[in-house]
């Protein structure tokens, strides 16, 4: 081990020394060198190391670990032991705890992590979709039955004139709105940030045994149904469908998945089964959060479709085509069987 670093001044052969002194004299240079390397990685990343340092890092780390073991058994110098503990901990996390690079994580996420995470949530996704549907149906029937209920369901700021008191022409105008052209991109960005925040929120709220997430998802469906009912009452159902579907397939799907991720966490904490609650929570949480991150990506696309696509594409047929193509695309991406999975499973 002494060969790792050239030894400094020899040990003075004077009187009896405490073990720590002998030990420090023999290994201090190695520790200092490891300290220097780890500090450089912490400050400027692994790229800051020379090839030689990179090769030495694991050797020096193991040597420091063995120093720590020896020091604990033979030395009573507490400063030495705590120094070595801190040094070894820092080195350990630089060697074992560092994630792969951001770009390879991103690649892994797109190729495998995301669809896998969504597929693992299929039960919750189904429940979430059914809740949205039930909410939408309830909202639709309620507002058809009693238009004043619309005001109870949807806040004024969101309605933007699309309420039961508007006449058919005014409603039609909101569907094929062209005036907003100059603010399109801002509008798209606002929609994205707003929706993405809701997706993250519904995921996090899942922790409270999924109850708030259920409410959020049902309410989302309720608003959807209420909006459609306003247009359907004026005979504009098909047109409103086109207005909604161009981005809705992506956006509502994303919200459903984020809700599903919240359900997964809530149910994992409420019913951990035989596993310990904390162990199960994170095994589930890590995977569900990947699905939620995917939902945020979907919402970026939905925001673009809503803010730009919808305002420039004014033909119902094209709107339906785009919306349904997106839906088929997402379903294929998430649920189509893959060769890579087959290999991984077998």
């Amino acid at each position: 081990m002494n060969a790792l670093v050239e030894e400094g001044a020899g040990i003075p052969a004077a009187a009896v020394m405490v073990n720590a002194s002998r030990f420090r004299a023999a290994h201090e240079l190695e520790w200092k060198r490891l300290d220097g390397i780890v500090t450089r990685i912490e400050r400027r990343g692994i790229g800051a190391l020379t090839e030689n340092d990179l090769l030495m890092l694991p050797l020096l780390y193991r040597s420091a670990l063995s120093s720590l073991s020896v020091a604990r058994e033979t030395s009573l110098d507490r400063a030495l032991v705590s120094y070595l503990e801190a040094l070894c901990t820092r080195a350990y996390f630089q060697i074992y705890g560092v994630p792969t690079s951001f770009w390879s994580q991103l690649r892994e996420f797109i190729l495998r992590g995301w669809p896998q995470a969504v597929r693992a949530l299929w039960r919750e996704t189904l429940v979430s979709a059914l809740l949205t549907l039930a909410g939408a149906l309830a909202g639709f029937l309620l507002v058809m039955h009693d238009p004043t209920l619309f005001y109870a369901i949807i806040p004024d700021s969101l309605a933007g004139g699309r309420d039961p008191s508007a006449n058919a022409d005014a409603l039609r105008a909101t569907l094929y709105n062209k005036e907003q052209h100059d603010g399109l991109a801002v509008f798209a960005t606002f929609l994205f940030t707003h929706n993405a925040q809701i997706a993250i929120f519904s995921f996090a709220l899942g922790f409270a045994f999924a109850i708030p997430t259920v409410l959020l998802i049902v309410y989302n469906g309720l608003m959807l149904g209420a909006f459609l009912a306003v247009f359907a009452a004026k005979g504009l159902a098909l047109q409103a469908g086109g207005w909604l579907i161009i981005h809705g397939t992506t956006e509502i799907f994303a919200i459903i998945i984020a809700g599903a991720a919240g359900f997964r966490i809530g149910t994992a904490i409420a019913f951990p089964g035989r596993a310990a609650r904390t162990d199960f929570a994170f095994a589930v949480g890590r995977k569900a959060s990947v699905a939620m991150a995917g939902a945020v990506v979907m919402l970026i696309l939905a925001g673009l479709l809503e803010g730009i696509g919808r305002q420039t594409v004014l033909v119902d047929g094209t709107r339906y085509t785009i919306g349904l193509t997106m839906l088929v695309g997402w379903l294929a991406y998430f649920y189509a069987p893959r060769r890579a999975d087959g290999l991984a499973d077998s």
């Binding site: 200092k32 670990l65 929120f201």
Partner: protein
């Protein structure tokens, strides 16, 4: 384990040291970040985020009059979204495993199982901030904006969400909800310097005091390490008090050099106790049987 019957979990340790065995088989005895350090790191991050947000808002509102308002507005919207959600995630996903606030305090997020920190874990632990921080904040804001009739409801909601905020104080590992869901914990990785060696370095030439076995049998490891701390801190009044106590117990006359006396005593005691350890006899404190009698 059958469901209704749960074995009682072993009593959690009081300190923040946790056993953590590396693949090489050495226990690193990780030191977890305390609640105070964690809170300070968060406040630092929050201050940085708010400062950036406020400065960029001022800058953009000054520039908006130039007619390029649309792009700037988009930048602002995306920027504030990324700041709120991305600050923690992007910094922790990088190799450092720490936000600037944590780096300043000397903290690091690591996976509890010692594996590399995955993106999923970081996203999970930080998405939970929504219910830990922003939910209580929004209830506070709600209460501020409403009249007294709703105050009761708001306070109730605040209490409920306060459970999430103060969750770290309710468990031994100082886990946030986010740590629970992400499978992470926060450890101290502050850089420490190797303190000087009390033992051998100085004054080899100086004649050392020698002590009788009886004088060295007074104390054990615990007292030795306390003495080490006193010597390292080197506060004159503490040195004088300790030197006086040791002299009185050992029946040694005062020679006027407290520091030298204690250093020599420390060295002699250390050598004796270490020799005992080599032979498998460890004397933990002064109440344990002396090394001579353990045979």
């Amino acid at each position: 384990m059958v469901w209704p019957i749960r074995r009682r979990a072993p009593a959690a340790p009081r300190t923040l040291r946790r056993s953590f065995v590396t693949p090489e088989g050495v226990d690193l005895r990780l030191e977890l970040g305390g609640a105070g350090a964690r809170a300070v790191a968060f406040v630092l991050d929050a201050v940085m985020i708010l400062t950036i947000l406020i400065l960029s808002t001022i800058a953009i509102s000054l520039l908006v009059s130039d007619g390029k308002s649309e792009i700037l507005l988009i930048l602002w919207l995306i920027g504030s979204f990324v700041l709120r959600n991305g600050w923690f995630i992007l910094f922790e996903i990088g190799g450092r495993g720490a936000t600037p606030g944590k780096m300043l305090i000397g903290l690091r997020v690591v996976a509890r199982d010692g594996a590399p920190l995955t993106g999923g874990a970081v996203i999970a632990r930080n998405a939970m901030r929504e219910i830990e921080i922003f939910l209580p904040l929004s209830f506070l804001g709600y209460q501020a904006s409403q009249d007294a009739a709703d105050a009761f409801l708001a306070i109730f909601a605040l209490l409920w969400s306060g459970i999430f905020l103060f969750f770290p104080l309710m468990n031994h590992d100082r886990l946030r909800i986010g740590d629970l869901v992400g499978g992470t914990w926060v450890v101290r990785t502050a850089r420490t310097a190797l303190a000087a060696d009390i033992g051998a370095t100085e004054t080899i030439a100086r004649q050392r005091r020698s002590f009788s076995d009886a004088a060295l049998d007074l104390y054990g490891v615990y007292e030795l390490q306390t003495l080490e701390e006193v010597l390292r801190l080197a506060r004159p009044e503490a040195i004088a008090t300790v030197a006086e106590a040791v002299r009185r117990k050992a029946g040694i006359a005062d020679d006027g050099d407290d520091m030298g006396f204690l250093t020599d005593y420390y060295r002699a005691l250390c050598v004796r106790l270490e020799r005992g350890m080599m032979l498998g006899r460890r004397r933990d404190n002064k109440h344990a049987p002396s090394l001579g009698r353990q045979r």
